[in-house]
Structures are given as structure tokens and as C-alpha cells.
Symmetry: C2
């Protein structure tokens, strides 16, 4: 059996009792590292906090491993109980459908244990989840690559009065260009898009497109480290949020649509 | 301090370690009953499963209490630690913004402990959450009240290739019409909309409106008891799902938009 277990958003205490029970039963534990492990309050050494709680060793599965060696893990899961631990929810912002599809093809039974995801935890600011339109991802702009397909989506959502959740780019274990040229893999240091960078990119695209999807006075809510003890939620205009120090990653951003009175009352508590 | 604690979707084992730790610290525990408690696998007597786990008594807070006597609970929370337990996530399908607003006005500190919500757990079928448009609610039709504002929203989502999550009506502790006339409150037995009824209502509205937002061949995914040991997920056309016995509540339904190949592969595992 393969257990795919959501760890929730904060730290080791956000696993559910059901999740922990499964972990205790499993003979081997993998933890995905390539999306948001660093933001989970654990450095590479910090893995030991989890290992202590679980009472057994963890294998960190980076992107390469999940993509290239998943079958090894799945073959193990045919023989005994294996857990694949995922920050947040297994089918939240990052989905693990690929792994499930491969498992089913190998006739490995899969059990999913849910947890909170950033996709629902943003509800804490009081904007109702059912008033969100399509979610967008903001990629890091480079000198030559500045994709802006998020612009139409935000425009459409705002036209309908809907809120837009913007997921901000995470770059972990990306091979450096230099190392690719040399044929030897070396990795860029991890980087996480801040709310400030996200707003700069959003405003840059608005200036280029000029279709008034939003502007620097548009109300937004910035979220940092949702679910952790020191989470930070601030509501304000793009201009205001740009200057707020949200601290450590992960960050994400909601562009507010039309609000109801209760939504407004809640947002007021988070005003910068 | 008022702790608003998400219990997750399945049963008592879906609380997080962080949530349980807070519960243990609190002197008084309330649990909201008016949305989805019955579906949480616990009857009124079953509350004792939770009480046994928590080691202390629970006060069931029905809609009346939350609306009329919230301030009593909040005044307690000024003096000592109080927990308000919520099935799913505190800001998922049902939001508790009202309570937070009242708490903040009374200067009661509030701490939210996240958990899975139906809003993210539907991800398990493989349809990606960021490809969902606005969520709709389907209310029980009566002879005289057949609101269909969900129709445009579904139409719009489908026009954009987006999936639509349909939350199905729950009627718990509704005063009966007869009792209202007699001036003495008596309650209707609780009722939960099934996927079959939802599809009948959807198709009735399509027939009336005739704008081809969807039809009986439109691909959907039905979910029952998400997160519990006996959850059921089935993909198929409206026509097909209408005849599936999904069993006990809660049910919800996704109307599928445009799919990506990985989404399709995943859905295939759930075909009826």
C-alpha cells in the first residue's frame, strides 16, 4: 500500500492523527522536498524533527527522484506499506496525480490522507473561497522570459467580481545554466517569489497591456507562512503591500474582487 | 483565547496534532453541529467518541446558539481558553467569519487551526484545483422556490474550460412551516441533497433555459463522504451518475471542464 499523506502547512504538528497512524504503520517513509519543504520550517537537518516524531528515518525525495525513481518506491509499496509525505495536501497547489497514475498502473493500492492546503487556508482572511475564480501562477520573470498569461485570467475574474489567488513561483533544485553547459549538474540556490516581486511583475504587465485589469490601488491580501506560528496576513492596496516586509517564504497573494460586507469587516482586521 | 479548530473531513482521527494539543489546553469545548456534524460519522450519541479522545465534555452548538449566544462563548474566551470545533476547515465551504468578527470586536484573541476542506479534498479525483472556476451552491428546489443563479456561473466556467464544484444543500434544524404557523419551534428532520437530486435539478434548469451550458452527457465527478474510510468517488456523465448509489451524505459534485491528459488518466480510474 502507498499512503500519500498531507502534512499540512505549518510544521510537524500539522499532520492528522490518521496521518500519523499511517506513518507508524509504514516500513519506509519518503518526503517530497522539491516544492515546499524548506518553507515547512525545516532545513535539511530539521528533517530530524520529523524523524523523531515518527520514530523512523525519512528519505528525502527530490524532484529527480520522484520523476525518475518513482517506480522503485512503487515496487516497494507492492511488498509493504510505504508513505509518501507531502507538505500541504496531496492534491492542493501541487498535485501528485502522476504518482497515483503510475501506482495504479502497477496495481499498487493508494490511500490519500487529506490535509489543509494553501488553496483553502487563504480563507482565513475572510474572503470566501466560493467567490474565487481561476487560480493563477506567477512565474519569475527573466530577461528573456516574461510570460503573462495570468493577466487575462485576473482580468476575467475581476470582471466577474471574483477574487484571484496568485501562487508565487518556487525554484528549488533547478540546475544552473552554467552547470548544464558544463554537463555536470549543479543547482541554483532555492528561491521563492516574495509578494513585493509578485506585485512588481503584476504592475509591469498591467503597464504593458494597459487594459486596466487592476492597478496599484487594487485591494489585495498578502499571506506569508500560512499555518505556521508566525503566519502574516496583511490587506492593502498593491502599492501598500509592496512595501510590507512579509519575511520568510512561502508567500502568496489574493487580488480582491467584489466584496460582501462580512468579507470587508474581516479584511479590516488585516489592514496594513 | 478562542481557538477555531478544523476537524477535517472524516472522523475524530482527522484532527491535527496541533488541533488536539489546543483542545487539551482548553477549559471549554464547543462543536458546531448545524452544517455537517451528522455527516462526520457521528450521531448525537457519537459525540462521546470525540469526548473520549479529548478527555473532556463537548457542548454542541447548533445554529441558534452560534447566532444568538455566541457572545456568551466569547466572554468565556476572554477569561480562559475556549475551543470552537468545526467539521472540515474553519474557512472552507462554511465560513466562520461572523464569529471572528464578533470576537475581534470583543477583543478576544482568535487562533485558527487549519484542516482539509471539501474545497481542496475534491482534488483527489485528479482534476486540478487551479482549473476550477467559481463554486456554486445548489439549493433544494421547492414547489415555489426554484432559484437557478448557478446556471450562469456553470455556463461561464464551462465556457472558459474550467471545472465547477457544486456544493449540495444541507438542511439541518430548519423550523418546520407547520411549527412556525403555530408559533412553537419544531424542526424538520435533517436532509442532505444527493447527487441524483442535484443532477435532476441541474437538468431541469438546462431544459428550461436551453442555453446548452451542459447536458446529460456532460462529464461529472460525484463525491460522497470525502475523507472517511468509505468515501466514494465516481466519474461519469450526468446520466450515468444519476443512477449510481452514492450512499450516505455528504455528497458533492464537480462538473468537468476541459481536461488535460493527466487529469483524464486519473479520471479513468474513477469511471463508473
Amino acid at each position: 500500500m502507498l499512503y500519500i499523506i498531507g502534512l499540512g502547512l505549518g510544521d510537524e504538528k500539522d499532520i492528522t492523527l490518521r496521518g500519523l497512524e499511517a506513518v507508524k504503520k509504514c516500513q519506509k517513509l519518503y518526503i517530497e522536498s522539491y516544492t515546499s519543504l524548506l518553507s515547512f520550517g525545516i532545513s535539511k537537518d530539521g528533517i530530524s524533527t520529523l524523524e523523531k516524531l515518527y520514530g523512523k528515518p525519512l528519505t528525502v525525495a527530490d524532484r529527480e527522484m520522484v520523476e525518475e525513481k518513482a517506480d522503485d518506491m512503487l515496487l516497494e509499496a507492492r511488498e509493504f506499506d510505504v508513505a509518501f509525505l507531502v507538505v500541504g495536501d496531496p492534491f492542493g497547489a501541487t498535485t501528485h496525480s502522476d504518482l497515483v497514475v503510475r501506482a495504479k498502473k502497477l496495481e499498487v493500492e493508494v490511500k490519500v490522507i487529506y490535509n489543509a492546503s494553501v488553496m483553502n487556508a487563504v480563507g482565513v482572511c475572510g474572503l470566501q473561497l466560493y467567490r474565487y475564480g481561476e487560480t493563477v501562477s506567477l512565474p519569475f520573470f527573466t530577461e528573456t522570459w516574461r510570460p503573462d498569461s495570468f493577466y487575462e485570467k485576473i482580468q476575467r475574474n475581476r470582471g466577474l467580481g471574483l477574487h484571484t489567488l496568485c501562487l508565487l513561483d518556487i525554484r528549488v533544485k533547478e540546475p544552473s545554466l552554467e552547470s548544464l553547459c558544463r554537463g555536470k549538474k549543479q543547482y541554483e540556490p532555492p528561491s521563492f517569489m516574495t509578494i513585493g516581486v509578485a506585485i512588481d511583475q503584476l504592475l509591469e504587465v498591467e503597464q504593458l497591456r494597459g487594459e486596466l485589469a487592476y492597478n496599484e490601488d487594487t485591494l489585495c491580501v498578502g499571506f506569508a507562512r500560512l499555518g505556521s506560528e508566525n503566519q502574516k496576513v496583511v490587506a492593502g492596496s498593491m502599492k501598500q503591500l509592496r512595501t510590507v516586509d512579509f519575511g520568510q517564504p512561502l508567500h502568496c497573494l489574493t487580488i480582491v474582487g467584489k466584496t460582501h460586507p462580512v468579507e470587508e469587516e474581516m479584511l479590516d482586521f488585516y489592514r496594513s
